[in-house]
């Protein structure tokens, strides 16, 4: 795979990933802006309204028909939090011409033009979004925000994060807040869209068996031409949480209790975070981890038991699905594992095994188009230029002492329990 990056205009970057491993081409456009209470809901809503129609494909039906004509090009959008930023993500995936019955159609170009129209050139009536679309998507967004309770594990994790980052950008819910929706209308939402595309950081990714023509297609696209240079308005640093939040217990009509423990890792540098990846693997990141082995395999308290490391925020979240009466027992076991690692109660072999697992997952980055895009976007956002190979070399250097160093700094911030 060959990766290149260039600045089309100040604040707008084109990332090209040339690879002949896949039958599809994947294009992604990421709009990155600061996570703020004032704009979080509007930004999320913009993404929903854009899907409804562009200046050229004015209805969902037309968009869908066009995608179907392009041999089922798939169009997808999402909202993510990346550190203290909100990222609006748009993807379009098309089958490479080699695998199509007639290859006289330039599917990639159509797909690129369509998606850029959807994002930058929406359907506008009287200097505003179409009223009907906005009103309807407000209702849908309300539903979506309220729909957080449907996936209990995810809900418990989100709630733990919100408690941990109360009043801070990262504590905001990525789809925003129901009460904000009342103040949004087709006029001010369109204004926000115009402001967003003028100020946000823009990253365009194209991955697949493509040639240099793709750069021309993008450079000559009218929407790209119309974009102005910008000093992109996003957070390069992310705000630490300083206050310990303690224990939070909430109730819902559930059969199983969901325990989430939020940890501060307290890495002193960007580079130390690589060591934290291995620490997390040993703590709860694999089937051999302390938490999986002790909470599930030895104590038989859970089916799901593990942990995840959020690199941007330098936090680990432990999660276990347990019998409600086993709360204390499970929590104590989790605390015990954190202590044990601090005391060096693990072997060099465990470190080596964790490294093997992580290195294998790094080697697989190139095998999936969306994973590659996510990786290079991560590098872009953290100001790193680490290639996959450099990343592997860095991981190989980690030893037991490095893991203990991480462990010594780890502190429990918030304990969250969802029960009935």
């Amino acid at each position: 795979m060959n990766y290149t990056k260039k600045e089309i205009k100040k604040g707008i970057k084109l990332h090209v990933l040339k690879t002949d491993k896949f039958k599809t081409n994947l294009m992604a456009v990421f709009l990155t802006t600061k996570l703020e209470r004032e704009t979080v809901t509007a930004n999320a809503l913009i993404s929903a309204v854009l899907r409804r129609g562009s200046s050229t494909l004015q209805t969902q039906e037309e968009i869908s028909k066009q995608l179907e004509e392009l041999y089922g090009a798939s169009f997808d959008c999402g909202i993510d939090k990346t550190g203290d930023n909100q990222v609006l993500k748009f993807y379009i995936e098309t089958v490479n011409d080699t695998y199509l019955p007639q290859s006289n159609e330039n599917i990639l170009k159509s797909a690129i033009d369509n998606i850029l129209d959807i994002i930058f050139h929406p359907l506008v009536e009287n200097h505003a979004f179409k009223k009907e679309y906005v009103e309807q998507e407000k209702k849908n967004m309300k539903q979506r925000i309220e729909g957080r309770i449907d996936n209990k594990r995810r809900y418990a994790l989100d709630r733990c994060i919100e408690e941990m980052y109360k009043g801070k950008p990262f504590g905001l819910y990525r789809f925003g807040y129901v009460e904000d929706l009342n103040h949004i209308n087709e006029v001010n939402l369109y204004e926000r869209h115009q402001q967003l595309i003028k100020q946000c950081k823009i990253d365009i990714f194209v991955s697949g068996n493509i040639n240099d023509e793709v750069e021309t297609i993008i450079a000559e696209n009218q929407n790209i031409k119309a974009l102005e240079e910008r000093e992109p308005d996003y957070n390069t640093e992310s705000e630490k949480n300083t206050v310990k939040q303690g224990e939070k217990i909430e109730t819902m009509d559930v059969m199983q209790g969901k325990l989430v423990v939020g940890l501060d890792v307290n890495s002193q540098s960007e580079d130390e975070k690589y060591n934290a990846i291995i620490y997390n693997t040993i703590l709860g990141g694999s089937a051999n981890s302390k938490i999986f082995q002790n909470v599930r395999e030895k104590a038989n308290l859970a089916y799901e038991a593990g942990s995840r490391y959020f690199k941007y925020k330098d936090n680990i979240f432990v999660n276990c699905g347990i019998e409600i009466t086993n709360y204390e027992k499970a929590l104590n076991l989790v605390k015990q594992q954190i202590e044990d690692i601090k005391n060096g109660d693990f072997t060099d072999e465990e470190v080596e095994n964790a490294k093997k697992m992580i290195i294998s997952s790094i080697e697989l980055i190139d095998d999936e188009q969306d994973t590659s895009i996510t990786y290079y976007f991560g590098q872009e956002m953290s100001g790193n230029e680490k290639s996959v190979e450099d990343y592997i070399e860095r991981m190989k250097k980690i030893n037991k002492e490095d893991v203990i160093e991480v462990a010594k700094k780890v502190e429990i911030n918030t304990i969250y329990f969802l029960r009935n």
């Binding site: 089922g72 019955p101 309770i149 449907d150 089937a287 294998s360 095998d367």
Partner: protein, 426 residues
Amino acid sequence: MQVIENSKVKEKLYIEKLENGLTVMIIPKKGMKKKYMIWGTNYGSNENVFIVPGENTKTEVPNGIAHFLEHKLFEQENGTNSLDTLTALGVEANAFTTNDTTAYLFYCTDNFYPAMDELMDYVQNPYFTDENVEKEKGIIGQEIMMYDDSPDWQVYLNAMKILYHNHPMKIDVAGTIDSISKIDKDILYKCYDTFYNVSNMAIVVSGDFEPENILEEIKKRLKETKTNGKIQTFYPEEPETIVKEKIEQKMEVSQPMYTIAIKVKPTDKPEEMIRRDIAIQILLELLVGKSSKLYKQLYDEGVISGGIGGTYEFSENYAHVLISGQSNEPEKVYHRIKQEIARQKQEGLSEQDFYRIKKKIYGGYVKDYDDIENISNTFLTNYFMGINSLDYLNQIDNIDMEFIAQVLNDIFKEDKMAISIVKNEK
């Protein structure tokens, strides 16, 4: 090895049935770093009544045993757990149980052969003790409770309960806390000895490999076994009718969830299975897909806010169409879908829409081949039904409007439709 090539997706399948009855399939993937292996048995939660080879009478086992067996197979006599051993090699290992299949898998970049050693060792050497069986009941109990809290799973399972009178499709793959309490090591060994005979199993390997080498490596690791011969399994008599049209369950959800199900008379002819599957996929797009008239209407009216999912699930002994989503008015969605089916039957399908949707479905099949794990699993489960997955790419050309119309009439029948709803107390 037999080689089956498809020029459209430019893929090859190498397939061989060994003397002991084990089938090996290899899908080479040049340039991919990921190496994947899956070993499955044609045995899932539906096989609950059978004759143990060498015996004369039927054995009936507790619900959830295939899944329980899947959990327990990782346990080794020397006290180690194969999941731990595989993880320590830096490979991702897992297993799954469905209604029809149990399978063990791993993927990796390095250590492929050591991982193959371990996988092939633990699948061929069960080790069950009273103690290790007992301890698993706690873990699986929590797994069952996790699904109890999942509205998506409940709405699906309830749909099965009102579609099937007797067929085990209506039973949860994992069983219940009560049914798994009856499982002991002897029953596990009985099921293992019956269904884990290599003649009832198949292996799929995919990655940047020389197929002949892989075949030899697999042969080296096989234990000497005698072939069981055909396994006799029994399913209860299942009427063509549904049990009842509607079921509701109260759960804490933000918006009601629904699954609309249509009971279909199964076929055991592989070609017919594929043709029907393609036709139903096309019909579901025409009826409720994103570009359909009904989707637009329901969306504009605010009855739905997201997609309507459609799938067709089938084997030789059951088949049903599922249409699922979320809506504040699930009954209305149900009613309108019924109306739309009737309208399309009466007015006929649009030819233009048909050709466009066919393009979409074709593109989807091509895309599938980028995902090694997904295609390997599909080749495995299809193989157990006598289907070669590559045939989908050939059959799609032969699907015409006439056949689609026939499937619409034969399968989308109002008296075979039912709806399952999960919603709030309030």
